[in-house]
């Protein structure tokens, strides 16, 4: 049996009070008596009664004032008050309720009505208590959930961090709708120093988005650092997301690769609003529109990971956003829209439109709140000099590695079409401890040698096509066609010799193509001022990165050498030391 309900009876009239006390006690309530207003307040504080019967007219402190103070004392707790009154005028009775009373009872008392009112108010009180308990439980659960989400978010942020974006030429805004954001923005440099950026927008928010974002970020970071191409990374991401996301969930994504040496951006857009390329010179805006299905919808066989390459000069800017910006609504439900986005970029001339876009979106939404995640990124192309020599991952310890070895690796037509040998070869070269701090230079050299052998050697593509901006995109289209039909091979030969403090790595690449007049080409290059041509940059780069570079025979074989000595503090000796 639960404790009896405590009722406070306050009446300065002894007879009335005793009468009332008797009736209430008979109903099974526990009664405290108070003889006037001040006594009522004292007893309320002392006994904490759950219901109060209060005479309206008492000397000293009247019932109205007592009611006000009791309600104040009770705070959130619901303490029903019944006024006892001989008043009958409607406005007087109304005054009882205005003062905080929950009901009133006219003198002389009707026993039946009194009992009914006590029971009714008791039921209300119980309901109120239950509601409060449920409310408290919900807020406890909520607090717990928030706490768990915060912990999970810390894990999430460690996996999908934006560390790669903290450079002066990148500006970004990520504004999460919930603790978990449906948007993912990750960036990393590949071994050659190219900046890979992936912007993703998962259907839905919260957990589903976050669960999908984690493997996406892991694939992105892992494969970028190992030197995989964007196409390979996208294929793997698509395969993984298709496997783990429930049907009907997917990830719209935009992948960009900025090559600062060549001044190019390679992109793949599957379902995100077009990224906008604004030239430092000229007013034309170029749209990097979506031409692919989002990630996680179709099977590997149907997935199209083909990318496009655009020329991007220093000072050119690329702006990208998720549909949260485009669909941001004002008070009347009007979306921000593509037109406004373009207009603001167009009006920015050569300046950064980032702040203006951000302000315009916030102004547009006003107080109407946000109904999606807002993500906006601006990346400005810089020259390799502006970029500065990137601090390659430092490998202080030098565990023993292989000292004298040779390796020959030949790719036939099917491998040339379908695979990328660079991550594997890079991995092998990194077995040489002395070369680890030069990972970036070596990857760049491997990548240049391979693309020269494949594109100009095996496929016979003419790099002078790239001499104009339009020819530039023609070149990459021709490359895709030639790749489908190619026949031939590319052979890598590595020879490593370490002798105490000195050592060298020789890389020879031979292709099945007819070769080219290398002597003439090198003469030409030495006459052209640096960086004016769209082509030939690769060759120049190679020349600067290795100890020696030499074309052999008819030009279908090239040999580069990396040499080092510990006296030179581990630095690679370069023939052209700039």
């Amino acid at each position: 049996m639960a404790d009896p309900i405590r009722v406070l009876v306050a009446d300065d009239n002894d007879v009335d009070r005793m009468l009332l006390t008797t009736i209430v006690r008979k109903e099974g309530y526990e009664v405290q008596e108070a003889v006037d207003g001040f006594d009522a307040l004292r007893k309320f504080v002392e006994h904490r009664p759950q219901m109060v019967l209060l005479d309206a007219m008492m000397p000293g402190l009247d019932g109205f004032e007592v009611a006000r103070r009791i309600k104040e004392q009770a705070g959130e707790e619901f303490v029903p008050i019944i006024f006892l009154t001989s008043l009958t005028a409607a406005d007087e009775l109304a005054r009882c309720l205005d003062a905080g009373g929950d009901d009133f009872l006219s003198k002389p008392y009707n026993k039946v009505i009194l009992k009914a009112k006590l029971n009714a108010l008791h039921r209300m009180r119980t309901l109120h208590v239950t509601m409060q308990e449920q409310r408290d439980e919900i807020s406890r659960h909520h607090a717990h959930l928030i706490q768990e989400q915060e912990a999970a978010k810390a894990v999430f942020d460690n996996v999908a961090h934006t560390g790669g974006l903290d450079v002066p030429f990148v500006r970004y805004l990520i504004s999460p709708l919930a603790i978990f954001n449906g948007d993912v923005l990750v960036a990393a440099r590949n071994p050659a120093g190219d900046l890979y950026v992936l912007l993703g927008d998962f259907t839905g928010h919260g957990l589903t988005a976050a669960i999908g974002a984690m493997p996406l970020a892991e694939i992105f970071y892992g494969m970028t650092q190992k030197g995989f191409t964007p196409g390979e990374i996208l294929r793997e991401a698509n395969r993984k997301l298709l496997g783990i996301l429930p049907k009907g969930y997917f990830c719209c994504a935009l992948m960009l690769v900025f090559n600062f040496h060549k001044g190019t951006v390679e992109f793949w857009n599957g379902g995100l609003p077009p990224a906008v390329l604004m030239r430092a010179r000229g007013h034309d805006l170029l749209h990097l529109t979506s031409s692919h299905l989002p990630l996680g919808i179709v099977s590997e066989e149907r997935f199209d990971a083909s990318t496009r390459v655009l020329e991007m000069a220093a000072g050119d800017r690329l702006l990208m956003c998720t549909d949260g910006i485009i669909e941001a609504r004002d008070a009347r439900g009007q979306a921000f829209g593509f037109e406004r986005f373009d207009q603001i970029i167009g009006a920015a001339a050569a300046d950064s439109p980032f702040d203006r876009l951000k302000q315009a979106v916030y102004r547009h939404m006003g107080a109407s709140g946000r109904d999606d995640d807002l993500t906006l990124v601006e990346i400005t192309m810089v020259t390799p000099e502006q970029l500065g020599r990137d601090a390659a991952p430092v490998e202080p310890e030098r565990p023993a590695g292989s000292e004298d070895w040779q390796l020959s690796y030949e790719l036939g037509p099917r491998s040339l079409r379908a695979s990328n040998p660079l991550p594997l070869l890079q991995h092998i070269v990194m077995e040489v401890p002395q070369l680890r701090s030069h990972a970036s230079a070596i990857y760049t050299v491997l990548a240049e040698l391979y693309s020269n052998a494949l594109e100009h050697g095996v496929m016979g593509l003419d790099s002078s096509l790239k001499a104009s901006a339009s020819g530039f995109s023609d070149y990459y289209q021709a490359r895709a066609r030639a790749l489908e039909a190619l026949d031939g091979f590319v052979r890598f030969e590595f020879a490593c010799q370490i002798d105490g403090s000195r050592g060298s790595l020789r890389i020879r690449v031979r292709d099945s193509g007819p070769g080219f007049d290398h002597a003439a080409r090198i003469r030409e290059l030495s006459l052209e001022p640096r960086g004016t041509a769209y082509f030939g940059r690769g060759l120049r780069l190679l020349n600067n990165l290795c100890h020696s570079l030499e074309y052999r025979g008819c030009g279908n074989e090239v040999e580069v050498v990396f040499a080092w000595s510990d006296e030179a503090d581990g630095a690679i000796e370069r023939r052209a030391a700039r």
Binding site: G204, G248, G270, S290, R302
Partner: protein, 101 residues
């Protein structure tokens, strides 16, 4: 948002007509619209004439319908899209998965 269905072509085609905003709130109703039809028709048509807006969860629902209708072998048409709806479908390149008129 309302969803209405009509069976056409002697039970061969199910036409699902969407009105108003096609978003997550339609999830249950949209699914029931095609799952409740016995026997399942060979072709599906989603009529967007009255649809004012679709969001990415609606795209997800269309994918679910496509999957239900046979995945890569599904015959699902999306017709009468207004320019806004059409734009959302094009950005996601859903032409590769659905016949869109």
């Amino acid at each position: 948002m309302t969803i209405a269905t009509t069976v056409a072509d002697q039970g061969e085609q199910l036409v699902i007509t969407i009105s108003g905003r096609f978003d997550f709130s339609a999830h249950q109703e949209f699914r029931e619209a095609y799952e409740s039809i016995e026997p399942a028709p060979g072709r599906y048509c989603v009529d967007m004439r009255e649809a004012s807006y679709i969001d990415s969860s609606a795209l997800g629902m269309l994918l679910l319908l496509r999957d239900y209708a046979g995945g890569d072998n599904a015959d699902v048409q999306i017709v009468n899209c207004n320019p806004d709806v059409r734009k959302i479908l094009s950005i996601s390149n859903f032409e590769q998965l659905f016949t869109i008129h």
